[in-house]
Symmetry: C2
Subunit: 400 residues, 2 copies
């Protein structure tokens, strides 16, 4: 092959960008994954979203590492190529001398956009940690830990490195996504790495749990997406916002954590407040499915997509209900699982071309017909199926 030749973009391995550039016979620059995939599988945009690159690497490695039927060299190779792409292109040295990750890259890996939040970095940590487990590469584990330290610094010490100016009217907000994401990372980084590592992150884990529990408001009848740092309700739309799918996802994160530390009280709270409450408030009794956003006082949310039914809250709900049932054997939790299962599998899968649609109208009609986009990648669907399969296996083998 000739130096610099752009190989043809093959479709054989689905989302993986195989159009790499061969600078010399030895130096192939890997290109990550396309994630904007149309109804019929055609790539409709070549931008590479870092959240989705990180999540895809994580998912491949997790499947490779923990499920026999996915323990295949081509899955590991795809994950490694994605990881190399991320390490080479996703990290950007920020103006304050701190590493940031871009939100979005061109096909060739040039940064297009950097968010002033922590989430690209979080998915980078997930990818690197899981990749280090699949490959045994301790450099990647170190990189995950270093980025994790950076994240903790931003969240607990000084967020100015994120680049958002402090404004006098911008009330400090405990947004549920932040402690949820960090709790997920604590579980990722500590899993199976022994008591010493678990203890190292114990305080952070507990802090995340406390931050998440502050979102239970209105005498325990609602989970609000944004609260103050001392756990009181914020004014206005932001303060009244509910995101049922997010609350359900937090629910199963808390359930996992309560199991790890044998915390029965937390298990109880997780089920009653983060599994049952969001279902009661978030389920659309007229058309079925979980609303994307709601206002706790019954006002109309200002998000244009508030009434749409998205794939990922349904994925999170399936995991949350099944895990809650696994831990309690309460039949009503299995009923909720069945109801969400029926809705999900009747509405999201595309019988014609495979894969799931992501975005339905309130009435359940496909509103956006692509299979992958800027926020829908190889993550929520496979993670849900993976988690549910494991729980069901446990239930069937009476281990649970």
């Amino acid at each position: 092959m000739i130096n610099g030749q752009q190989t043809e973009n093959r479709r054989a391995d689905g989302l993986r960008d195989t159009g790499g550039t061969l600078l010399t016979v030895q130096t192939y620059i890997p290109r990550g994954f396309f994630t904007c995939i149309g109804r019929d599988g055609k790539v409709f945009d070549e931008l590479k979203y870092v959240w989705l690159q990180g999540r895809q690497v994580w998912m491949y490695c997790r499947l490779y590492r923990t499920m026999d039927r996915f323990h295949k060299p081509e899955i590991l190779e795809a994950a490694k190529a994605g990881g190399t792409f991320l390490r080479k292109f996703a990290r950007i040295m920020g103006s304050g001398g701190q590493w940031k990750c871009a939100f979005c890259l061109t096909r060739e890996g040039k940064a297009v956009k950097i968010q002033r939040t922590i989430f690209s970095e979080c998915f980078y940590v997930m990818a690197m940690d899981e990749l280090s487990r699949a490959t045994g590469d301790t450099d990647m584990q170190l990189e995950a830990e270093q980025m994790m330290e950076q994240l903790i610094y931003w969240v607990q010490v000084d967020s100015s490195g994120l680049g958002r100016p402090h404004l006098p009217g911008d009330v400090p907000t405990n947004s549920m996504a932040v402690p949820m994401m960090l709790l997920c990372l604590v579980q990722q980084i500590t899993e199976g790495r022994g008591q010493k590592v678990a203890e190292k992150y114990r305080d952070l884990g507990n802090w995340c749990v406390q931050q998440i529990l502050q979102h239970v408001q209105r005498d325990g009848t609602a989970v609000l997406e944004n609260v103050s740092f001392d756990g009181t309700e914020l004014q206005g739309c932001q303060g009244r916002l509910q995101n049922p799918g997010h609350a359900l996802e937090a629910g199963w994160f808390l359930l996992q954590y309560s199991t790890q530390w044998g915390d029965k009280e937390l298990q109880k709270t997780a089920i009653s407040k983060f599994v049952e409450v969001p279902y009661q408030s978030g389920w659309d009794k007229e058309h079925g499915g979980l609303f994307y956003f709601l206002d706790v006082d019954g006002n109309c949310p200002t998000q244009l997509e508030w009434s749409m039914k998205l794939w990922w809250p349904h994925c999170e709900a399936l995991v949350a209900f099944l895990m809650a049932y696994q831990q309690t054997k309460k039949p009503e939790l299995l009923d909720m699982f069945s109801q969400v299962y029926e809705y999900t599998f009747n509405h999201f899968p595309d019988a014609e071309n495979g894969e799931w649609f992501g975005y339905l109208t309130q009435e359940g009609k496909v509103a956006l017909d692509f299979k992958g986009g800027p926020f829908k990648g190889f993550f929520h669907v496979p993670r849900c199926l993976y988690m549910c399969e494991r729980i069901l296996d446990d239930l069937l083998s009476n281990k649970a």
Copy 2:
């Protein structure tokens, strides 16, 4: 009244925040307008969005100044109070020593968010210029001109003061909103101020027109929302994006400009490319109404709200068709006006509580039931009715 007393928030004058603080009998701190107004008129959020504050001041002054039945002291007073609020609270000295305007303020005027774009500043200019005309206050006119110079510097010389870091993959983009908005400001600032002022801004106006015309692509069959600065199509979703309401709004801006300068060629282009083309591509032949976003290749847009019917594109379409008819007397333009009129007045007004809804599903059902929100204020509906009334008056009196 007692010093510092918070007066009760009265509803009598609709959206105006009357809950001012009387620090001394003389120093009343004005509070601007609430814009988040529920279905029944109740304020559901007290944040004050600067785009909407500026637009409301502009609209009050324009009505006061040019229509006898709105030439009332209470309208001028409300506009002045809004202007005082803007001057006192909206402007923030940016890190680079340049004035920025906040995007959003608390009820008390503290900055909550600053966008890294030019639009808050644009609506500030519109408000100040029109207020100077209604009041004769030359300080405000000067302020409008100074901010206008700042805007021109950002757009034509150096945008780094907006605070967006330059990233290697972030392709410079001619986004239609920018030249449209500046053309609108050129017309605002020069209107009736004599030949010297008109000539001063002539080059800028022509530059805006050229920038807008670059959005006509695909051999004249499409108006694309984002193009390169040399007028070629951009890659990916961003490059294929169409926003029919925006193109129609650009259409009537161009028609006004072509009239002012007697440019028949521009008039022809404006009608064929910015009025007829967006209607043909943007009208939903199944359910009626104008789509919010479309992809020129027929892919599904990635914006979750792409198929919704918003009030403002319909407002812009009404003005565009009626003005195009006024200038040409082509009956098919009146037919298009009638079709949009029927859809608009059958779907957006709320027969029960008055005012217009803003957001419908593709099928025409109310999707968000508030009357005012972060982006819907006292602007598109009254501007549309105002423009249409003036054009219809002209048509009926045979002046046109």
